[in-house]
């Protein structure tokens, strides 16, 4: 039985499966309690920012690496094990260190 490839947009489930929580995700949940009144009742997942926005990294990234082992450099492949690609932010995390 031939398998026909369907384009992404033709399946809402597949779209939702991807767009909701994958890719670059700005996670503002943590902030909600800090931001105050207006936000407490709102799922302000992603409405973000003002001119003086400052963005920091908590933890960043990586290609998700469960089954995958994106060794994207060499052309080889065998999607089994492997370490996820780590992308480290250049932005400092500015944890306050006291010594």
């Amino acid at each position: 039985m031939a398998v026909e490839r369907v384009s992404g947009g033709s399946s809402l489930i597949d779209v939702l499966d991807r767009v909701l929580d994958k890719g670059i995700v700005i996670d503002a949940w943590v902030r909600i309690s800090l931001v105050g009144i207006d936000l407490i009742t709102v799922e302000a997942r992603v409405v973000v920012a003002s001119i003086d926005t400052y963005l920091k990294y908590a933890d960043a990234v990586g290609l998700t690496g469960l089954v995958s082992r994106p060794t994207l450099s060499e052309g080889d492949s065998e999607g089994g094990e492997g370490k996820p690609i780590e992308v480290r932010p250049r932005t400092s995390r500015t944890p306050r260190r006291r010594r």
């Binding site: 926005t53 932010p89 995390r93």
Partner: protein
């Protein structure tokens, strides 16, 4: 154990103190109906924001048609920082519900961008207040974005979901799986005394056999595709008919090859397994950048 380690863990929530330098200024989350308190230069239009679809590599402005997200009809354009750019459209500042229309509008823009660019997709519903905010974000995670863009250049994601007719497979097991067949016969013929427990046992045997069978199929399918893909990711199957829910990262140049491999694999199983093959997608399953916005000043 060191206090500094500990402090690090918790900073995510507590964050900066009064000592915060100006750079950590205020992140302002904005609620749609809330009073606009942002002193933006364009104070006449505080409610206007920018919906962000993703990030591409480009130094020069690019247009991508129009977007109907949020029920408006706006140009899709780019906001640049150096050689990278966010793909955005104007929108009211608004919490977007992932309705059918909105999700498809989002996807539609992504698809038109993908025709000519590698895009690192932003999750649904990301809205910034101004172009400057977007530039600020691009700037602060520039090196990560560049890195990911570089690695994803010329690559596409495809989705593969494999389902089977569970009931039919169970019937087959009852006919053909030695142990299950025998047990099933005994159950039906002999009216085993403790039928309830016998049935439970049969159920467990069947579950186990199903899991083994599924795992075998999945392994075979991966084996058939591995050589053609850069990476794969195994998501959790949805529902009890699905045995495989995978995403594959493919070199664009090998797209046709991958198509052929999928078909070859699918043919092998005739109508026993049902393949649902989607794409191309941007590399949703292979890029995971989580940004946390932190508020400066007193928390």
């Amino acid at each position: 154990m060191s206090p500094s380690k500990k402090a690090k863990k918790t900073t995510a929530v507590r964050k900066t103190s009064a000592k915060a330098e100006p750079a950590t200024a205020v992140l302002d989350l904005v609620t749609p109906p809330g009073p606009a308190k942002v002193e933006s230069p364009r104070s006449g239009q505080q409610q206007e924001g920018r919906y962000v679809y993703g990030v591409i590599e480009s130094r020069t402005p690019v247009g991508f048609g129009r977007s109907s997200i949020g029920g408006v009809n706006e140009d899709v354009y780019t906001v640049h920082y150096g050689d990278i750019a966010a793909v955005v459209s104007r929108t009211p500042v608004f919490i977007f519900d992932p309705t059918r229309d909105n999700a498809l509008a989002h996807e539609h823009v992504i698809e038109s961008v993908m025709k000519n660019y590698t895009i690192i997709p932003m999750s649904f519903g990301t809205v910034f207040r101004t172009d400057d905010d977007i530039r600020e974000v691009l700037k602060s995670i520039y090196s990560s974005l560049k890195d990911v863009l570089k690695q994803m250049t010329g690559k596409l994601e495809f989705g593969l979901k494999v389902t089977w007719d569970r009931d039919r497979i169970i019937e087959e097991l009852q006919r053909e799986h030695d142990e299950i067949h025998r047990f099933h016969l005994e159950l039906t013929r002999k009216h085993l005394q403790s039928t309830y427990f016998a049935r439970m046992q049969l159920g467990r045997m069947i579950d186990k056999a199903l899991a083994e069978l599924a795992a075998n199929y999945v392994r075979e399918i991966y084996d058939g595709l591995r050589a053609v893909c850069v990476a794969s990711r195994d998501n959790k199957p949805i529902g009890d008919k699905m045995i495989m829910n995978a995403a594959f990262l493919i070199q664009k140049a090998r797209e046709a090859e991958f198509d052929a491999a999928v078909n070859r694999v699918a043919q092998k199983y005739g109508d026993r397994l049902n393949f649902k093959y989607t794409g191309p997608w941007p590399p949703y399953n292979f890029v995971n950048i989580r940004l946390k916005l932190e508020r400066g000043g007193q928390g």
